[in-house]
Symmetry: C2
Subunit: 150 residues, 2 copies
């Protein structure tokens, strides 16, 4: 019983720590959405175009700096391929939220674009992103993704 | 009875037309969020700093191009004041969505920033925006606002 209590306390501590790290209250729904964000980042950072596009909803949109808004799979494929060609993108979520009804949510955090400038020097642009997600047939899909650089 | 039917049909037609204009299904919740977006644009375009900031939640964030993320009333006040100083901002929503539970939603659309370039010529930068809203004490408040220019 004491051991079980200790394990429970340990779990509570871990959950509280994770919540503090993200600066907000998190439950299972938020954890699942965060996992989707992290999984999308993994295939995006690996420049796997097909898998990166597959995370987006049928009518998803990307708001890319210095480009028209991209809506729908064809436009998203072009926008993501163009992003891959520019350099290496990574991101880290620091906010997550899911509606009580469970089908709409958001993630937000920091993003880095590392590329070679015209002189051949490696440069990293630091920015921020905001993604709106919708659950489609049980899976989180990107409805909107917006980012800009500092 | 026939008149009531005609009025009902007229209302249905109007709602359907509005839905088609926004390219999606809309209900009362979406209309209320759209009204909040339009009301925010009105005070923002009029450069009413106090009213523009009042639309933002206590822990709201703005993702502004070429600037660090602004979170919280103080940072938002500075970010919005800086935006007002740059030129005249207007926007028009073309997408809206509200979670079934009614407390989380988004709006998205086009935004224009009109300003004078160094030569004194009036220039308009065209862009896109994405706003995540949360209902606080019955009122829609901005949780995240992100925009960038084409």
């Amino acid at each position: 019983m004491r051991l079980r209590q200790r394990i429970s306390m340990g779990c509570v501590f871990m959950v509280v720590s994770a919540s503090i790290a993200l600066g907000q209250t998190r439950g299972k729904a938020e954890d699942a959405l965060l996992a989707a964000d992290v999984a999308w980042e993994k295939v995006y950072a690996a420049k796997d175009l097909a898998k990166a596009v597959a995370f987006c909803g049928e009518h998803g949109s990307m708001l890319v700096p210095n480009a028209p808004i991209a809506t729908g799979k064809e436009a998203l494929t072009k926008a993501i391929a163009s992003d891959f060609a520019q350099g290496n993108t990574t991101w880290h979520p620091n906010k997550v939220g899911v509606a009580r009804s469970g089908e709409l949510g958001y993630t937000s955090g920091t993003t880095d674009l590392t590329f070679k400038d015209p002189s051949g020097k490696t440069v990293t642009s630091k920015g921020n992103y905001l993604t709106v997600w919708k659950k489609v047939d049980g899976s989180w899909r990107v409805l909107f993704d917006s980012f800009n650089f500092e």
